[in-house]
């Protein structure tokens, strides 16, 4: 193991955990917000330093090419979201929706959530992965209920019940994987470690592995918001604080999907086991088509983009279900593009809701005239997420569609239908919100456009030009995924 890498790995876990403890004690919200940003920045630096020095694996933690890119993405988005959160909560405090006590709790929970997600991504042990995802679920439940309004409590409760069910099914699947591994690897910790599992997967009992995968797909699929297990997602996004919506959509869904992909790798390594592809293709297409249809009737701006997240999770699951180097490449790229774009959209949506004092789409119009920065930011974000060139989402969606057309033209037709439906609805909604006469309340907001510009800039650059080393990296990981 590489010493520098081990230090970076320790920082990634110890820093957010320590910061969470400190932030509970920090009284002022300004200081709290600054500490939050600082801790997130240093976690990001530690994550980037992993590129230079990969520490390899030990009994509990590992860094390989697959999770490394998600760890960097995770810490990048949590850093930019902490910047957004600082300007967002200042306004919430002034408008009296939150009290300083709640903010202390909020900041501590924010760091605890980063800790849980880093732990899930770094874990080399399927038990540890499960614990980390459970921890992240419980933290986000508390965050969603933060406003303590009727709707927020209902959303948190629904999320809690459905999330725990998903988590329970995933644990049953985890136990089954251990049972499949135990006769081959032996009792104890090694039979739960990723590297050991992957090395010996070919010798596992295929029937047991099949059953385990069904439980794991349903369990972690609930957390990833796949239809028909998505019911918690729109409510949780709409009623929680907007920085949490950004982190939920941009990061936590990815973490859950990452868990599913790890188990998919196990399945592919066993020739006698069920092919996981068709199951994932069905769930992915269902999510895409269902969400595309649901977009049309949404009245709440945050719910609209929550359904768009379900749609994109569907596309990603579909891409990985198709498998093969090209579709996997597209899926990996789309994971990154979606999390950057969607969190950028939530950054603008948060400020828009504050400026207009409402989340109802029908009362939001003429944003480009009253708040040019926010309005045009929203336009750029929605154009990007709808999949228009030259943004990176276009590149990845194009790759998914073209690789599917080459192999399964019928499935590709359904895929294109879903994409076009979502595209049309989003642009139509955007037109109403961004242009036309403005009406209703108009409070000026101090918004920081740095996080937004950074995210959209990255997505734009990725759409125009992907650096050669990055392409090779993605190709390498796509080959790993099988």
């Amino acid at each position: 193991m590489n010493a520098l890498g081990v230090i970076a790995m320790t920082v990634l876990l110890a820093l957010p955990a320590g910061a969470a403890l400190v932030l509970v004690l920090v009284p002022g919200y300004r200081l709290g917000a600054r500490l939050n940003i600082g801790a997130a920045l240093f976690s990001l630096l530690a994550a980037i330093s992993l590129f230079g020095a990969q520490p390899g694996a030990n009994a509990y933690l590992r860094v390989d090419d697959f999770n490394l890119y998600l760890i960097v993405l995770n810490n990048l988005v949590s850093f930019t979201t902490s910047l957004f959160s600082a300007s967002y909560i200042a306004h919430e405090l002034e408008s009296g929706r939150l009290t300083p006590q709640y903010l202390r709790f909020y900041h501590a929970m924010y760091q605890a959530l980063i800790f849980a997600m880093n732990l899930a991504l770094l874990a080399n042990n399927i038990g540890l992965l499960w614990v980390a995802i459970e921890l992240a679920t419980l933290i986000t439940v508390l965050m969603v209920g933060l406003y303590r309004t009727r709707a927020a409590l209902e959303a948190a409760w629904k999320y809690f019940i459905l999330g725990s069910l998903g988590i329970a099914l995933a644990l049953f699947g985890t136990i089954l994987v251990y049972l499949a591994a135990q006769p081959v690897i032996g009792e104890g910790l090694p039979a739960m470690a990723w590297d050991q599992l992957l090395a010996h997967a070919a010798a596992f009992d295929p029937a047991l592995l099949n059953l385990a995968f069904v439980f794991l797909l349903l369990g972690y699929g609930t957390k990833a918001g796949l239809v028909p297990l998505h019911a918690w997602l729109p409510d949780a996004h709409a009623e929680g604080p907007t920085p949490i919506s950004a982190v939920l959509s941009g990061l936590l869904l990815n973490v859950a999907l990452y868990a599913v992909l790890r188990f998919k790798m196990l399945m592919s390594a066993n020739p006698a086991a069920l092919a996981p592809g068709p199951l994932m293709i069905i769930l992915g297409l269902l999510s895409l088509l269902f969400a595309a249809l649901m977009l049309y009737r949404r009245g709440d701006i945050k719910r609209l983009f929550a359904y768009s997240s379900i749609e994109h999770m569907g596309i990603i699951t579909f891409a990985f279900g198709m498998g093969g180097p090209l579709a996997n490449f597209a899926g990996l790229l789309h994971m990154a593009m979606h999390s950057l774009t969607k969190s950028a959209i939530f950054f603008t949506v948060g400020h828009i809701a504050q400026a207009r004092g409402t989340q109802r789409i029908s009362t939001i119009c003429g944003l480009t005239t009253t708040h040019p920065a926010l309005g045009w930011g929203l336009v750029a974000g929605v154009l990007a997420i709808a999949g228009l060139p030259p943004f990176g989402v276009f590149t990845s969606e194009f790759l998914v569609v073209s690789s599917t057309f080459a192999r399964q033209p019928l499935l590709a037709l359904l895929l294109v239908l879903g994409l076009l439906l979502a595209f049309g609805t989003l642009l139509w909604r955007l037109h109403g919100m961004a242009f036309g006469e403005s009406q209703g309340a108009n409070t000026p907001v101090r918004s920081s456009s740095l996080p937004l510009l950074l995210h959209l800039g990255l997505v734009l650059v990725a759409g125009i030009w992907l650096p050669e080393p990055l392409v090779r990296w993605f190709q390498h990981v796509a080959a790993l995924l099988g």
Partner: protein, 221 residues
């Protein structure tokens, strides 16, 4: 193979399934909580017996956690919550005992039909245990689906977690980290739930989930 140790393990795991059936038709909340305590007590015995026959001392810890947290502390806390909310006398309308029992029996059959062929090569002890554990998990799900009251929902969820602990105990040599985390998560879950129940009381004057459904988006517009 079919010695006394195996039979007792079988008997205790089967006892959990029977207790899950008892949970299904309890209309009064306090009775439901008491049966849940019994459920956890049977779990304690089942896990303790597994520890004895597998010679796995760490499972005694799991059994101890089940006894202290799930059979004693959580039921006591739930009784207090129910009394403080003044809902200990309310009768919950259960949608028909016969229907639930039939559905439950079908789920148990499903669990056995799914698990036994799949685990044909595994250790017979783990095999039977897993089939029963899956049955308990499915019955917990059924309880959650058929109830409206928030407290019953929570009990359904915890009986489901009991089934998971039974499965983990049956898997020979499964590392302790997981079992402790299960117990730990249940504890956290209770804290969350406690907070929620009180907040719900503050805001709704009811813990009936149907009252909450009225605030869904479709009906709010």
């Amino acid at each position: 193979m079919h010695d006394l140790g195996f039979d007792i393990a079988h008997f205790l795991a089967g006892g959990m399934v029977v207790t899950s059936f008892l949970l299904l038709y309890q209309a009064r909340l306090s009775a439901l909580i008491n049966v849940f305590a019994l459920h956890s007590l049977v779990l304690t015995l089942a896990v303790g017996w597994q520890a004895f026959i597998q010679h796995a001392p760490h499972l005694y810890v799991t059994a101890g956690i089940a006894l202290v947290f799930k059979a004693l502390m959580i039921p006591t806390a739930l009784h207090r919550i129910v009394r403080r909310l003044g809902i200990h006398r309310t009768l919950e309308v259960v949608g028909g005992v016969g229907r639930d029992m039939l559905a439950g029996a079908a789920l148990v059959a499903l669990a056995i039909l799914v698990m036994l062929p799949v685990t044909a090569t595994a250790d017979p002890l783990a095999r039977e245990d897993l089939a029963f554990a899956l049955a308990v998990v499915l019955l917990g799900l059924l309880l959650m689906v058929t109830r409206q009251n928030a407290v019953s929902l929570v009990i359904g969820f915890m009986s489901l977690e009991n089934g998971l602990v039974l499965a983990a105990a049956g898997a020979r040599g499964m590392p302790l980290a997981v079992e402790i985390s299960v117990a730990f998560s249940v504890l956290i879950a209770l804290i969350v739930i406690g907070i929620f129940l009180f907040r719900i009381r503050e805001r709704f004057d009811s813990v009936d989930m149907q009252a909450m459904d009225a605030f869904r988006e479709e009906r709010r517009r």
